[in-house]
């Protein structure tokens, strides 16, 4: 299990490959890996976004991520988890967050991955500030992660 904040750009697939290589003892046992990668979009609410700054609350952010992962593991007893989240300055297409959950049961892997993402969006102390063509703005609130009617 690893939960990490990163101050510089990271490659989610390389991180995954590295983490899986370290934990290769699990390779034949888990069966299901559910993953989510969130990347910075080049536009938001109709305006193009040049750059983004991710502020966080050092200490509390790590603690809340830990709480979220532990709470998820009680509900969905997965085998292993990797969470990496950016802080600092990001450019469009830069990865923001990687969540990987390994389990022998695909339902557990999917549900835990999604729950960790939703909980992170609602409770982990991160704040996005967007640099637009002209000026800056704070992102005010995260959108819902669920699709109505589905």
């Amino acid at each position: 299990m690893r939960i990490e904040l990163r101050a510089t750009a990271f490659d989610p697939l390389a991180e995954l490959a590295g983490y899986q290589a370290e934990t290769a003892v699990l390779a034949g046992s888990f069966g299901a890996t559910a993953l989510f990668i969130g990347t910075m979009r080049d536009s938001n609410e109709g305006q193009s976004v040049r750059k983004m700054t991710l502020e966080h609350y050092p200490g509390m952010t790590e603690r809340q991520l830990q709480n979220i992962v532990e709470e998820s593991r009680k509900h969905w007893p997965f085998d292993d988890v990797l969470v990496i989240h950016r802080v600092g300055e990001l450019l469009p297409a830069d990865p923001i967050v990687l969540i990987a959950v390994w389990s022998s049961h695909r339902g557990i892997a999917f549900d835990a991955c999604r729950h960790i993402l939703e909980a992170l969006k609602h409770r982990a102390p991160f704040w996005k500030k967007e640099a637009l063509e002209h000026g800056e703005r704070w992102v005010e609130t995260n959108t819902s992660g669920y699709v109505s009617g589905s």
Partner: protein
């Protein structure tokens, strides 16, 4: 001893400071801390608060040495 108060994101910019220290006289709750730094205003509903890095409410007790934080809704992920 003092209570350390911290602000983040748009609230930090509005307050014009990232943190400050308060002498914990007549400060029993998070709401009291907010009043002390915001000229007697009640804590707005859209401001979140934490005591010692765990989420808290307006009526959460505070004591000498605590770190109290105020911030807008989070937007990570």
């Amino acid at each position: 001893m003092t209570i350390r108060v911290r602000y983040f994101a748009s609230l930090r910019e509005r307050m014009g400071r990232a943190d400050e220290e308060l002498v914990p006289e007549n400060l029993a709750s998070v709401a009291d801390v907010w009043k002390a730094v915001c000229e007697g205003q009640p804590l707005p509903e859209n401001i979140l608060c934490a005591v010692n890095m765990e989420y808290a409410h307006a009526d959460t007790a505070v004591k000498d040495g605590d770190e109290v934080a105020f911030f807008p809704p989070v937007t990570g992920g």
